[in-house]
Symmetry: C2
Subunit: 136 residues, 2 copies
Amino acid sequence: MSKENTELKKAGLKATLPRIRILEALESSDHNRHLSAEEIYKQLINSGEDVGLATIYRVLTQFESAGIVIRHNFEEGHAVYEITPDDHHDHMVCLETGNVIEFHDEIIEKRQDEIAAEKGYQIIDHSMVLYVKPNK
Amino acid sequence: MSKENTELKKAGLKATLPRIRILEALESSDHNRHLSAEEIYKQLINSGEDVGLATIYRVLTQFESAGIVIRHNFEEGHAVYEITPDDHHDHMVCLETGNVIEFHDEIIEKRQDEIAAEKGYQIIDHSMVLYVKPNK
DNA sequence: GTCCTTGCAAAGCTTTTGCATCGCT
DNA sequence: AGCGATGCAAAAGCTTTGCAAGGAC
């Protein structure tokens, strides 16, 4: 039984072909880890799969509920998805090279919790992106 | 000459009625300073203004280019706009009520600079949004 | 066999655009 | 008067949904 198959079962989802293919597409894109529904769709069609765009959206929504993927709403006009990383991290984007540096900082994480608590809230999720340039 | 009128001229925009009304709507919403195009539209219609939704969108886009407003893409399915604040702050969005709470924290700001510096970068801009729920 | 899943098409929503008219300067 | 701005309606782009057919267990 494949790795994808197991992952789906674990999430309580039937291991159907479209789901396996979508999971594979997301896992194999090591370099550009953030894919849109449209990108996944085109990739599968080009691979000869017979799949509908609606299915991609439905499956991605299920994956998100199951915690398999994370959905990002960058300012691009469409959502992108990435396999949920094992370790939480935030992103630093270099405005000159486009490089994405991942980082994790406990001081900030802790402070965020404190700030939310001060206002009477608890954090469900957060997004933090630093836009940077190299030091000369 | 009104304050809004001056602000528009300074941005190189003709001081038309719709623009003035939109600016007023944004400035007068002290409490919930983050308005969507639709909210501004309804507000103006209810005030008896004869305005089109398309105009709201066009004007907001112009305002953003002129630096008069900042556009935020929170995870709500629509963009919200706020008058460009004099002082920097970040946002906390309540997932239950849609409320937006502003906050500013020096510890986090300082830490962000340090993290960027550690990697050999300097921060040009950043976005941080905490998605929260009320504590029971 | 049963129930979940899929593909297709149509609908929904937010946002943008074409165009004739209107209004600021 | 001139030219940008507006309102309306239609279109565009992303995403969701209804439904009948197909597939997993």
